[in-house]
């Protein structure tokens, strides 16, 4: 390659401000093999990344390679911003079919799955041992709820006490993260969002959502979640779990477990041993929410070949071994990381979760839908916190959210046929 400037935007991992440094280190191999390429890395925070990326694409000045959330692919494809992935970029298959579906539109592959994740229950192993609870005991809603009741009996509520923790950390903030954490519970109850986005169906007020609201209502009650706890910020909730031992369970993602397994130094830093468990099965089984991110090259990039060469490097064994070790992000492809049988067996529950996970529909208006659903779900949870009945007030709220969502969906007059 001749001398050129290549811009890469990625989002921060749990490494926070070190993300850029670690990425630069992991990209040494690429720099060595492409001495003429001047690689600039920008770490764009998740919370502003979507707007920043669209702004850059709309201005026609995007970076050459972008990390994007899998749920953003539908919009980026619809707006025609992405270059098609050349055949030579990916050598090995993805871990699960949904990872391919997330980047494929009308038979055209527009992104390369990079890291995969799935939601689940992160549990304090010491507490599971103390309560004699096995993974099977919490495999169903009933079993999980019964254990939560036992934990709640001895929980301290006047202060954070890691020896007498609350059952489960749940936040009810009006943000998409509330939807991300709780969608699995609604799905496990039989709710199927993808079937309901036709602009006229009931969505949150659909009868299939009711079992999910019931279990969430039970969880909020057994936890005796109050307004302060409901309003807690997700990062603080995570901190309360990992640093303070405030809860036995956290609904979230698995990176800390991966990192603990791969990096014993980090593992020692954990104040309590933690383990990953699938979301307990409801009437429709156990459903994990799949997610992660993909690498894409904008069509407006001036150097698509060099950009795709960088993408190929970023999914290579050489890069991913170092990246996963440092960040806890799991590779989305079968690769050297997963070839290690010992590691594969240790991560088996997580891998099974990823393989069977469900994703959000790839709707071009997803960001707006997600924002409304997050807010609507939050309103419903707050009404439950306020002691309102699921039959009355919750249904009213759900219908009102549905009216907003359907009005929004009807505005998609330029969408044509949406996959």
């Amino acid at each position: 390659m001749s001398s050129r400037h290549l811009r890469l935007w990625i989002m921060p991992t749990q490494l926070g401000s070190l993300t850029s440094t670690v990425a630069a280190k992991a990209l040494r191999g690429f720099n060595r093999r492409n001495p003429g390429v001047d690689l600039e890395i920008r770490v764009v925070p998740w919370s502003i990344a979507w707007r920043e990326i669209l702004k850059a694409l709309k201005r026609g000045e995007p970076p050459d390679v972008l990390q994007v959330g899998t749920t953003w692919m539908g919009t980026l494809s619809h707006l025609g911003f992405l270059d098609e992935v050349p055949d030579w970029v990916e050598e090995r298959p993805c871990l699960a079919p949904w990872l391919d579906q997330a980047v494929q539109f009308g038979g055209t592959r527009l992104g390369v799955p990079w890291v995969a994740e799935c939601s689940g229950l992160i549990a304090r192993q010491d507490m599971l041992t103390r309560f004699n609870a096995t993974p099977e005991d919490v495999a169903t809603w009933d079993g999980f709820l019964a254990l939560c009741h036992r934990i709640a009996e001895g929980a301290r509520r006047d202060a954070i006490d890691p020896l007498h923790p609350l059952p489960v950390g749940i936040t009810c903030r009006p943000e998409p993260v509330t939807l991300h954490n709780l969608a699995s519970w609604l799905w496990a109850g039989g709710w199927d969002l993808g079937q309901l986005l036709d602009g006229s169906s009931p969505i949150l007020s659909h009868e299939s959502a009711r079992p999910g609201f019931e279990i969430l209502s039970h969880l909020l009650k057994v936890n005796r979640t109050d307004n302060d706890m409901g309003a807690i910020q997700p990062y603080r909730l995570s901190q309360d779990f990992y640093e303070e031992g405030r809860f036995v369970f956290l609904i979230g993602h698995s990176w800390k477990i991966v990192k603990g397994l791969l990096d014993p130094a980090t593992s020692k830093d954990l104040r309590w041993p933690i383990t990953y468990l699938p979301i307990p099965a409801g009437p429709a089984g156990s459903v994990q929410r799949g997610g992660g991110s993909a690498l894409v090259v904008p069509r407006r990039s001036q150097q698509t070949d060099a950009a795709w060469t960088l993408v190929r490097h970023m999914i290579s064994d050489e890069f991913m071994m170092e990246w996963t070790q440092a960040s806890g992000d799991l590779p989305a492809h079968e690769c050297g990381f997963w070839d290690d049988q010992e590691r594969r067996s240790a991560l088996a529950p997580l891998l099974a979760g990823i393989r069977s996970a469900r994703i959000y529909p790839a709707h071009p208006m997803w960001a707006t839908i997600e924002s409304l659903l997050g807010k609507g779900l939050s309103d419903i949870l707050w009404s439950i916190l306020a002691g309102e009945s699921i039959d009355d007030r919750t249904q009213d709220l759900a219908r009102s959210v549905d009216a907003e969502l359907n009005a929004l969906l009807r505005m998609g007059w330029d969408l044509g046929d949406v996959r």
Partner: protein, 476 residues
């Protein structure tokens, strides 16, 4: 932490402010300022986070700087989540954060909260430090205000550029369609909206005549699914990520423009909406003028009585069509029509009834013809039709259809009477029956004459026998 009480915190704030005095207004300068604060506070704090209040009144983190380095901020704090003492009285606020302590230092300019600095430490901040922190804030706020003003100026300048470009595009547009298309595209490309949709009302001011949409990443499309025209008197719903801008001339509503950020979920910038709103008045006027010109032009081209084209325009279009046919090797057809016994109708029923007959014939012709066919009233009761792509077989069928259709749709008169109308039609094909306009015309005229003289209600294709259409030419 005790040492922090000995540090000149006012100077630390000023030094950090100096780092903000650069032409760059991005988050990067806040990383640099954060590092300066770290250095100035002599390692007493673990983390420095700098927030600025945005136009929606929300505090957005610009940078997070810790012992390991700095990164772009990602946190967002709505004001209602902060202690009222901080928001209203602008007091420094300390609170516990797990095993750490966080001090929130309000940045205030002219009595208004413009930002916030969060300092995180493993030790509690003693009162003597808390008392010094307003000095630190006073130093820092100078730089913060400068950045805010620079960003505002950048945005205004960019908006002004966009408004100028859009206004020019409106002025240079020729025709209503181009004008609306330009306006929608400008709203997306220059103003930065995700989509701009135009609903244009028809002359009745109620039904949507046309719907076009421009969206980020792709050009202009005409919508096949036409959205309902909004009730512009009802306030827009808050949850919808867009806004309708009416297009009026005086009290008359011509249409509406909908701009939205449906995909990016970006709040609609009020100033850009205002600019579009102002420009929409200009666009509405231009649209009205353009429509008026279109109408005048159309009126000049059409026969007053029947609404069919006048001969001048017909001849112009016909010579264009013939030139195209010669270039592409296509065929075209010419039909000449003459009403049978029209003089009798005029003499018997009077000229007003004769006019009704002509109107009815023109109306039936329009029903039988395709969009690209050109029909003209040549004069009196004579009509000509140019039919691109016509061959002999289709020519016969069309002539038969015209004769049948006109016959089957009589003009109703008072007292339950009706006048049935019969025609004679001559058909010629180009280039088979003449490869120049004169011959082509003459042969169609000859065929008409042949049909007419053979007994009326007949048609003839030039060079063939006359055909009779089986109904009798009676007046009822």
């Amino acid at each position: 932490m005790k040492r922090l009480a000995e540090v000149d915190l006012g100077r630390v704030g000023t030094m950090a402010a100096l780092r903000l005095c650069t032409p760059d207004t991005s988050y990067r300068i806040f990383q640099v300022a954060g590092l300066e604060i770290h250095k100035g506070m002599a390692g007493a704090v673990e983390q420095v986070r700098i927030y600025l209040k945005n136009s929606e009144g929300v505090l957005c983190e610009e940078a997070l700087v810790d012992r390991q380095g700095g990164m772009e901020g990602s946190d967002i704090i709505p004001l209602y989540q902060l202690a009222p003492e901080l928001v209203k009285s602008h007091q420094v606020w300390q609170h516990g954060l797990g095993n750490q302590y966080e001090v929130l230092v309000p940045l205030v300019s002219q009595g208004e909260l413009v930002g916030l600095v969060a300092l995180v430490s493993f030790q509690s901040f003693p009162d003597e430090v808390l008392e010094l922190l307003p000095q630190f804030a006073q130093g820092l706020v100078v730089g913060v205000v400068l950045v805010l003003r620079s960003r505002e100026a950048e945005r205004s300048e960019s908006l002004l550029r966009a408004a100028t470009t859009t206004a020019r595009a409106l002025q240079s547009a020729s025709g209503a369609e181009t004008l609306l298309g330009n306006f929608a595209v400008m709203a997306v490309e220059e103003m930065g909206f995700d989509r701009a949709t135009f609903l244009v009302l028809g002359d009745d001011g109620k039904n949507v005549r046309k719907a076009i949409c421009a969206r980020a990443g792709s050009g202009l499309v005409e919508l096949t699914t036409v959205p309902d025209f909004p009730d512009l008197d009802t306030p827009a719903k808050d949850h919808l990520p867009g806004l309708w801008i009416p297009m009026r001339v005086g009290a008359r509503l011509l249409g509406a423009l909908f701009v939205d950020n449906l995909y990016s979920v970006e709040p609609l910038p009020e100033d850009a909406v205002q600019v579009l709103s102002d420009l929409s008045g200009q666009a509405a006027l231009a649209l009205e003028n353009s429509r008026l010109i279109d109408r005048l032009r159309e009126a000049a081209l059409r026969d007053d009585l029947t609404g069919l084209y006048r001969p001048n325009y017909f001849n112009e279009r016909a010579s264009e069509e013939l030139a195209n046919c010669l270039r592409r090797g296509d065929s075209t057809g010419l039909l000449m029509l003459d009403l049978d016994r029209f003089k009798e109708i005029n003499d018997t029923w009077g000229h007003p009834v004769g006019d009704q007959v002509l109107i009815r014939v023109a109306e039936r012709m329009r029903t039988c013809l395709r969009v690209g066919d050109i029909a003209c009233r040549k004069g009196g009761d004579e009509f000509i039709i140019l039919v691109p792509g016509l061959n002999a077989e289709r020519g016969r069928r069309l002539a038969e259809r015209l004769l049948e259709d006109v016959w089957n749709n009589p003009v109703e008169l008072s007292g339950g009477r009706a006048i049935r109308i019969s025609l004679s039609v001559g058909v010629a094909l180009f280039p088979d029956h003449g490869d120049n306009w004169m011959d082509f015309w003459q042969h169609a005229d000859d065929a008409l004459y042949q049909a007419k003289t053979a007994g009326r209600s007949r048609y003839a294709l030039w060079g063939e026998e006359v055909s009779l259409v089986s109904h009798s030419p009676v007046q009822g």
